[in-house]
Symmetry: C2
Subunit: 348 residues, 2 copies
Amino acid sequence: MPNPGQIGPREREILTAIIETYISSGEPVGSRTLSRVNKDGLSPATIRNVMADLVDAGFLEQPHTSAGRVPTAQAYRYYVDQISGKAVLSPEDQTLISSTLQGTVDIQQFLERTSHVLSLVSSGVGVAIAKTGVQNALEHVHFSRQGPNKVLAVVVTKSGMVHDRMMRLERDLSQTDLDTAANYINANFRGWTVDKVKAEIAQRIEHERTQYDQLMQSLKELYKSGALTAEQPAANIFVEGVANLVANEEDRERLRDLLKTLEEKERMAELLAAYLDTREEAVRVVIGLEEAMPQMRNFVLIGAPARVGGEMRGSLAVIGPTRMDYQHTITAVSYIAQLFDKLLNEHA
Amino acid sequence: MPNPGQIGPREREILTAIIETYISSGEPVGSRTLSRVNKDGLSPATIRNVMADLVDAGFLEQPHTSAGRVPTAQAYRYYVDQISGKAVLSPEDQTLISSTLQGTVDIQQFLERTSHVLSLVSSGVGVAIAKTGVQNALEHVHFSRQGPNKVLAVVVTKSGMVHDRMMRLERDLSQTDLDTAANYINANFRGWTVDKVKAEIAQRIEHERTQYDQLMQSLKELYKSGALTAEQPAANIFVEGVANLVANEEDRERLRDLLKTLEEKERMAELLAAYLDTREEAVRVVIGLEEAMPQMRNFVLIGAPARVGGEMRGSLAVIGPTRMDYQHTITAVSYIAQLFDKLLNEHA
DNA sequence: CATTAGCACTCTCCCTCCCCAAGTGCCATC
DNA sequence: GATGGCACTTGGGGAGGGAGAGTGCTAATG
């Protein structure tokens, strides 16, 4: 008898068959059913023996004594490793994905369509995120006075992202002051990263002792109000396909919690960041989400990061039931992730 | 016996009591229960007689012979008319709303928080929408070259909204060309409505016959690509609190459809536009949503428009179960609608 | 004459019981 | 080692049977 986790080829084959049967039927798999499905004419009794071994090895569970077997998290992990790399994108998916994403030029649109198409191909929830990135190169800023002490700052980066931020200043500035400040920044710092611009301005303000330099006063005021601070806006986090969960979560209370969590977009961003910000390029399959989020019992995350120069600038993922078509979904996520990566790098 | 719809004061009182009991309990109301609740010591038998009349008049239904009565859509309509104007905002709601909306300066943030707070106070789904409005006064445009034939247009309106749009041009333009065009527009048209600017540019292009005027060529190219066309972006439609529906829709299939519909933000925008773009200022309660959308059986819409100079620029609404605390919700919607109106008019 | 008490009747809900189908584990056999 | 046979376990589902809540109707009552 092999050690837990160490199983022979016969066991592998049967385990795979069990997982696939369970995924497609949703019901505990019995030895009889399996012997009918399996090509090699193994008898139910033989399969029962193997199954018993697989239970010992931690790959299967029984909901109750006289029920069939159900794959454990460990089994899914094994299964995913097994099939990784083997999959090929189906022509239908290929068509669906390219026709949906065709002609997207701006990132928000891409994110929106991506989350949508992910939910379609996976029967799960599609998530797509891009970081606003203060590491982006500055293209243009504009300040517009909206009322007493109230200024709208618009920052455009070379990557084509637009951040706007309404601010309340301590001192009122005229539109002329604002234009002067914007011109100064645009003329001097175009092409710098937003981060560096911020640091530089901080320094120049510091060194400027002349109280009466109008420009510096304006810059200081704007700086203090965080004109160049780009927090992650909810607008860059897209979550679609929550309706798909209704079919997969029996427990209404838990379904409710799940929907609530998915609605908190910042938490989704954290979740993806936590699991996807790794060295690897590849698609990552996270089984056992319930460790971090109990309401996600029986759900898995299949996601991939998108990088620019080694740094994670975006991510996309499917959150779906453990009982999901992994091959299909992994391939789709992988394919879209490549497009995403390409899009981001094009802009960088 | 009064005509259908014509009922006496005794009937009114009992009908109101039935509706309120049903709203809070969720179960068909029986004569016995009601006689205990009702202050006037009317006996169950009397109430039964009245109930029979109310059934004839179309205000009540019986799920089955030996069950209590349930209010019909007609009854809810009556009830809502009855209580309209009588409600006062509870201190808790007042506190919740102002603390949530306090300090919001930009419209997107306001929309987001509004949809959130609406879902909180109503145990329904909160929806908040603002039109991008090409009727807004232009503050500033900026064009930024993103690659061959690819340009990012950023339009800032005086109302503080920022629209960005990635475009693909037929002819490539240099950044210098783009800056020149932007400067031209900013210098000549600041303060005009975006609509008017578009029309004016169209005309100037038309009249300009010189093929070699670089500026006009650039403008023409940008115009053709729709640089000033602001379609309604999904980013300005906020829908929150879908988790609340789980408790209210028994039928899983219908729940699924409902979630799907709520996710299609454009349809939500149409729905609100259809029901709220009226002359009235007031909160509107729409009972019988299933006529337009069958998946919304047993749900109502409580919403209000926000106007600038008579034109609808935004709207907010709660979509919740017919069994809802109308008084509470109507008051909250009304209060927030006033804030919304104020915010929009401030910016205009 | 409106109101009420009484009463027989009708449903649904829920609990219990019981059988059936599917599955298991183990032992003897090929 | 694989298989066939067999006794045992267990959840699901249908039948049956109150219990409870509610109704409509009729007769009595102020």
